[in-house]
């Protein structure tokens, strides 16, 4: 009862605080913290669902009207949550280390970018493109299919490989896709090379909502579907087969698990999530070029999965949220705050920050702190934030 009151109060107060102080990153963090609290607190299931539902369906868009930046952060969190959940299947459940995951994201993104922009005219001639903007919606499916197909095409030859050999091949594949995107403006101009493709059509939205809100809900909707699919897969013979492969591939096969088919399915479903989000990403950005699909991006998603807790759905969600929020919000907020102190000429320990040499500009060291946080998290919580838990089941024992 106390927990329930606390949770409701926490969420309500923190969201009110965001409305009052729309620019305070600390307050917004508090709001995010309240959601996490509502998730872990010992409160009735319906209350948890109501609180979280209200937060993401109502409060977040409202907050977005006070400060669009938060909605952007939330949308990007959504994109990365879907990516992390996809990679979680491949790495967390099936145990296949994929270091080139972002390639599938790229495939999805380019599929809409090419046809949703005038660029396709260069490719096919004529003036028929961009496709009418409602095509965006069918393309969610097309992007999914193309990415899944790419997953299968990559998977077929390489899934024989184990462990780090697979890792290096996927890394290579990721690079191949990126370099291809960067180079396929010649001899035929498919991707427009480094100059990228723009303008990419945005989908028509119902009820005249703004794009910011529209993309937020779109991302949210996809995340919900992805979570649902993820849970159903995980909690079935397919998910169990993946885990068995992760634990002992030879024994799994000897117990009747068709290795190639199961692995391909893992690759394809992981890839398809990335593909869908790629389509959304390209429309949201209006412009894409290969710089969004580097190796570091793949590493980032992997860090989310492991930080959250390998093989765990809540883990992947929280991992993606933490890394994204850390990168886009906390570290940025920190350096902006330090910058303000500096501009205001605040003195600490007798040292006037205004004299801080430019070498020590806080904004420059965000990645250093991110790296440090990764190391510390691994050392102090190696199992991840929300490690996978085994469900207890009723069995047919008399």
């Amino acid at each position: 009862m106390i927990a329930a009151t606390a949770a409701v109060a926490f969420v309500a107060l923190s969201s009110a605080a965001v409305a009052l102080f729309p620019r305070s990153i600390l307050v917004f963090l508090l709001f995010q913290g309240s959601l996490l609290y509502a998730y872990v607190a010992r409160i009735p299931g319906w209350l948890r669902a109501t609180l979280l539902g209200a937060a993401v369906l109502v409060l977040m868009p409202v907050i977005g009207t006070y400060n669009g930046y938060y909605l952007e952060v939330a949308t990007q969190v959504g994109i990365f949550v879907a990516l992390a959940l996809g990679l979680n299947i491949v790495v967390g459940l099936a145990g296949l280390l994929d270091l080139g995951y972002v390639a599938f994201f790229a495939v999805g993104a380019y599929s809409w970018a090419i046809f949703g922009s005038p660029h396709a005219n260069v490719l096919f001639g004529g003036t028929g493109f961009p496709l009418p903007s409602w095509w965006f919606y069918p393309f969610l499916l097309i992007g999914l299919t193309v990415a899944a197909g790419t997953g299968v095409v990559l998977g077929l030859p390489v899934l024989r490989l184990r462990g780090d050999y697979l890792a290096i091949v996927t890394l290579g594949f990721g690079e191949v896709i990126r370099v291809l995107a960067n180079n396929l403006d010649k001899p035929i101009n498919v991707t427009n090379g480094p100059r990228g493709i723009t303008p990419i059509s945005r989908p028509p939205l119902p009820l005249e909502v703004s794009y910011a809100v529209g993309f937020y809900f779109l991302a949210l909707l996809i995340v919900v579907v992805v979570i649902l699919v993820n849970r159903r897969l995980e909690d079935s013979h397919i998910g169990r087969a993946w885990e068995a492969i992760r634990e002992d591939q030879l024994a799994a096969q000897a117990m009747g698990v068709p290795l190639v088919r199961a692995k391909l399915l893992a690759f394809a479903s992981g890839a398809s999530f990335a593909g869908v989000m790629g389509v959304v990403f390209s429309a949201k950005q209006v412009f894409i070029n290969p710089e969004s699909f580097t190796f570091l991006e793949s590493i980032g998603v992997l860090a989310m999965v492991i930080l959250g807790g390998m093989g765990s759905i809540p883990g992947a969600i929280v991992g993606a949220t933490v890394v994204t929020v850390l990168n886009l919000q906390v570290l940025k907020g920190l350096s902006l705050w330090l910058n303000e102190l500096k501009n205001a000429g605040v003195t600490i320990f007798g040292y006037n920050l205004a004299n801080l040499p430019t070498q020590l500009e806080p904004a420059k060291y965000e990645r250093m702190i991110f790296g440090l946080i990764l190391v510390l998290m691994m050392i102090f919580r190696p199992q991840g934030i929300f490690p996978a838990r085994r469900r207890q089941r009723e069995l047919g024992e008399q």
């Binding site: 290096i168 191949v176 040499p357 420059k364 440090l372």
Partner: protein, 323 residues
Amino acid sequence: MDFELLVRIFPQVLLDGLLLGFMYALIALGYTMVYGVLEFINFAHSEIFIVGAFVGVELLLGLKSRGVLDTAPWPLVLLGVMLAGMLASGALAVTIERVAYRPLRAAPRLIPLISAIGMSFFLQDVIRLTESLWRNAFNLVYPTLEPLNERFELTSTLDVSAKSLVVIVAALLMLWGLHALVNRTKIGTAIRAVAEDQAAASLMGIDVNRIISLTFLIGGAMGGAAGVLFGVQYGLINPYTGFIPGLKAFTAAVLGGIGNIPGAMLGGIVLGLLEAFAASYMSLLTGGAFGAEYKDIFAFSVLILILIFRPKGLLGEVVRERA
């Protein structure tokens, strides 16, 4: 397609590829040593490598500003600088293991991988911070050791610079030394024993932690030496320079069969040759439709092909899976 040209530059391209390959091989040794013992990819090795390069450049710049760089005999200078680089990188590698990997030894394999990635980010910016404060610049240029720039014309279409020869000789020496150490000495045997079974090794009286530290020391020192040679060869370094060669070297290590020292060498050379031939020939062969920009695609595609047919790398032992 200009066939005559293709033939004419062939020896030079071969040499270019070999040189690049030895460079990769040198860096790959660090990955392979660590992988051999702990079975994990030390992503921070590229920074360990580049720290060697930075220590080297600082020393050379120091010597230069004191005006002794051109008077001291160059082999001595080079050797001294390399030793310093090796020491620094080795010490750094040992420290990283102590701080960021040892607490995670019992954790699943991907955990130290992420820790290593974090370390890699962290170190890049620490190097940058240090150099920014110290020199107010972090793109540093290696002072030239003039005698090393000399070029020898072997034929009218083939020439080689002294520094390239130094890289090749140093790489061969180090590879041979390391191979001998690991396979012919008691310490080397202990390293292999720890690699296989840490608990059993400790029951032999082997101090597992010390052996692992030693492995990082050796791997790091090799990285440091490679860093200095890299700087001498290519001239320009910054804190982020290590990343791509590091990735390539790691690829080379895998290609050769990770954990295998001659494999690292072979993998490096194969990758170097692939890249060199792709970069030099791609444009010639396709009449300009594809160019040097495709060299990585070509290299990675061949890598994938090789691994499909030899899933444990070129020299990787097929560790048999017994049921």
